[in-house]
């Protein structure tokens, strides 16, 4: 038996877990539900490990394995198969999804232990993992779309998990509707692609793209732009980023799994998978980079002004995905995927540690009401610091440093990049360090404001320690030339993604870029520590000034995008809906009904019960009939 025959089981087992939990889980004990929910994903992770080991030891022919299960849709010339495609890119994705997903399931088993809807929660989570695996393993775009919509559905269901609060339902709807804008673009992209290629097989399309579309053609630009539209919706990039901060209404492990580690990076995967289209249209590739640069800066500044710990992390996620888009825009596909991997580790860790803190403080989200937790929750503190250091890209010792450094290096040297992208990334690194430092200082240092009610147990602690280790160590699979030049990761991904253009910078320039990036990070961290630990008087005065307050309001509201969309889209739509409450088309049918009722009323008046009137009617009718016969 070939090891790649196990491939369909990887998304299949979590799907089976979902079905079982959805149908029978409500009657089970909590322990059984947790075992089923975690077990299926754990099994998927185990199978992924087996497949990955086989892939690394003896790569399949062409570094890709495909398994077609059955034909899903066959209509005329069109056929879509349930086909799974494994190459280095999808292997990386499924490894992160099942690995981090399994850890988060374990964490959830303890985190959600006292919540109602325990089996519902694990059923949704299993469905999510399955849909996400289908998304990254799909060998045609229609199946990819199935996974794409599946993760969107699960995101909706899990954001609104605590559905008794209407605000959570509103956040879920917002997430669903805003991402729907991007999904519509993706669907339009599918139609255009089918029109051009006559197939939706990703491999065939990528192979034929240079011949069919042509370099720099309008068709290539259209395809790339539509795919980009889908990607920015799912990955919460400018201008569709507004849903992600509100998505924090869901449970913390959900934020960690869906809104940090996996689903929101689906857009990055989509672009990396279809990189050929983007290479054929350099203009759209430039847009990708510019959007990423703008997003990472805007979201970074927004994160600086948040009070809610999870909202800081949400804006930070938007900002970090901005880095991935920046890397994609620079044509550095491997750098984007490297940052995806490290980000999945450290951001999942940060969300889980934040969840532990919030859990310990009886659902207190406001950082200004935390403080002093360093000694009371030492494990959460140390793991959170590990994740924060990786997020802030603390030089040399963290995974985030190596992935971000790779992105900044390519942003400078790539023919698609340039000083502007690099400068935006550098400024973003400083801002990231600043808000990370602020977050750590406010939460764990200073005076305690809220009592700790209970501490995380073994399961939650264990998961956080494992992720903390990964956040620190995962970076050493790819180091710059100046620091050893390990290139395990890029050689691995090089079998699926083209290597970026040979850098035109020497070791000296590389070192200079690293020093600049490290200096920016240390500057940001130092400034945060100085401002929030020492709290110098001038800083308080500055914070109290009216200009700072106005800026704080702007950043706190995420640059007013919600306000703008409310005015531009939501209110006009609600207004139109109000005007059209009695549907205009319905008026026609209402009129018809009114006519019938009126005629009925008039005619029923003639039924007056007076028998002589009836006789009169008959006589008059007879006279008229006779007159017609006689005179016409």
């Amino acid at each position: 038996m070939n090891v790649y025959d196990l491939l369909p089981l990887i998304p299949g087992i979590p799907l089976a877990g979902f079905l079982v939990l959805a149908l029978a889980g409500g009657r089970w004990r909590r322990g059984a539900v947790a075992a089923a929910g975690c077990g299926t994903v754990g099994l998927a992770a185990l199978l992924t490990a087996v497949v990955a080991a086989a892939f690394l030891r003896a790569p399949p022919e062409g570094f890709a394995a495909t398994r077609t299960l059955w034909t899903w849709v066959a209509a005329g010339d069109f056929a879509a198969e349930i086909g799974l495609h494994l190459d280095a890119l999808s292997l990386l994705m499924i490894a992160v999804i099942t690995g981090v997903g399994f850890l988060i399931h374990l964490y959830s088993a303890e985190f959600m232990a006292k919540e109602e809807g325990y089996s519902r929660y694990f059923a949704y989570l299993n469905l999510f993992v399955s849909a996400m695996l289908i998304l990254v393993l799909a060998d045609n775009l229609l199946l990819l779309l199935l996974g794409w919509e599946g993760v969107g559905l699960c995101s909706y269901l899990l954001i609104g998990f605590w559905y008794r609060d209407p605000a959570n339902g509103a956040a879920a709807r917002k997430a669903f509707v805003v991402t729907r804008v991007g999904d519509t673009a993706l669907l339009a992209g599918l139609f255009v692609l089918y029109g051009k290629f006559g197939t939706l097989q990703i491999g065939q399309m990528l192979h034929a793209a240079p011949a069919v579309l042509g370099s720099g053609s309008a068709a290539a630009a259209l395809v790339a732009a539509l795919l980009l539209g889908g990607a920015i919706g799912k990955s919460a990039q400018l201008p569709l980023q507004t849903w992600l901060p509100d998505a924090m209404a869901g449970p913390s492990p959900v934020s960690a799994l869906i809104h940090a580690a996996t689903m929101v990076t689906a857009g990055v995967y989509l672009i990396a998978r279809h990189h050929v289209f983007f290479e054929l249209s350099p203009a759209i590739l430039g847009v990708v980079g510019a959007l990423g640069a703008a997003t990472l800066l805007l979201a970074g500044f927004s994160a600086l002004a948040q009070h809610d710990l999870k909202r800081v992390l949400a804006y930070s996620t938007i900002s970090q995905i901005g880095y991935m888009f920046l890397a994609l825009g620079a044509g550095a596909w491997t750098a984007a995927m490297f940052h995806f991997m490290t980000h999945a580790f450290f951001k999942a860790l940060l969300f889980l540690a934040a969840g532990a803190v919030i859990h310990a403080l009886a659902h207190e989200h406001d950082m200004f009401r935390m403080g002093g937790l360093r000694t009371r929750l030492p494990l959460a503190f140390w793991t959170f610091v590990a994740g924060s250091a990786s997020l802030a890209a603390l030089p040399l010792v963290t995974a985030g440093f190596y992935s971000k450094d790779l992105i900044l290096f390519h942003a400078w040297t790539s023919p698609h990049g340039g000083p502007w992208l690099w400068a935006a990334g550098l400024a973003g690194a400083a801002v990231t360090a600043l808000y990370t430092g602020r977050m750590v200082c406010l939460t764990f240092f200073g005076v305690a404001h809220t009592e700790v009610s209970h501490r995380p147990g073994v399961l939650m602690s264990g998961v956080m320690v494992v992720l903390a280790a990964l956040s620190l160590l995962a970076g050493f699979v790819e180091t710059p030339h100046t620091l050893g030049g390990v290139s395990v990761f890029s050689r691995f991904l090089g079998t699926a993604l083209p290597a970026p253009a040979e850098p035109h910078a020497g070791a000296g320039a590389e070192l200079a870029l690293q020093v600049a990036a490290s200096a920016a990070v240390l500057l940001g961290l130092g400034a945060a520590a100085y401002a929030y630990l020492r709290q110098p008087p001038w800083f308080r005065q500055l914070a109290a000034s009216s200009a700072a307050a106005a800026l704080h309001r702007l950043w706190s509201a995420g640059w007013g995008f919600d306000w703008l969309y409310d005015r531009l889209v939501v209110r006009p739509f609600v207004g139109l809906a109000r005007i059209n409450r009695g549907d205009v088309i319905d008026r026609l049918y209402a009129g018809l009904a009114w006519l019938c009722r009126t005629l009925h009323a008039r005619l029923s008046e003639t039924q007056n019960g007076l028998v002589r009137r009836y006789a009169m009617g008959i006589a008059a009718g007879a006279v008229i009939a006779l007159a017609i016969v006689a005179f016409l």
Partner: protein, 102 residues
């Protein structure tokens, strides 16, 4: 035997029919309305007989026999309804009994 011109018979039938119709329309007493209906039926019968005479056919007279039978049945049913109505409503005024309006 001299034959009457057909016009005479038909004119008489027409006059009778009109009288009966006017009776149905203007009388409110149900007995009189029933009588007026009888007059109209007989007018129709006369028209049949006249037409049969004109063509030298017996069909007109046969038809009159049918009309007689039918008229008898109709009067029987009609009188029964009137008796029932009188018992229930204590009136035989057609306009006073309009319970079956729509």
């Amino acid at each position: 035997m001299t034959t009457l011109p057909m016009e005479y018979g038909l004119t008489l039938a027409m006059v009778l029919f009109a009288l009966g119709l006017v009776g149905v329309l203007v009388r409110r007493n149900l007995i009189f309305m029933l009588v007026s209906v009888e007059i109209m039926l007989n007018a129709a019968g006369l028209a049949f007989v006249t037409a049969g005479m004109r063509w030298g056919q017996p069909d007109g007279q046969i038809m009159f026999l049918f009309i007689l039978t039918m008229a008898a049945a109709e009067v029987a049913v009609g009188l029964a309804i009137i008796v029932r109505l009188f018992r229930q409503e204590n009136t035989i005024d057609a306009d006073a009994t309009s319970k079956m309006r729509g």
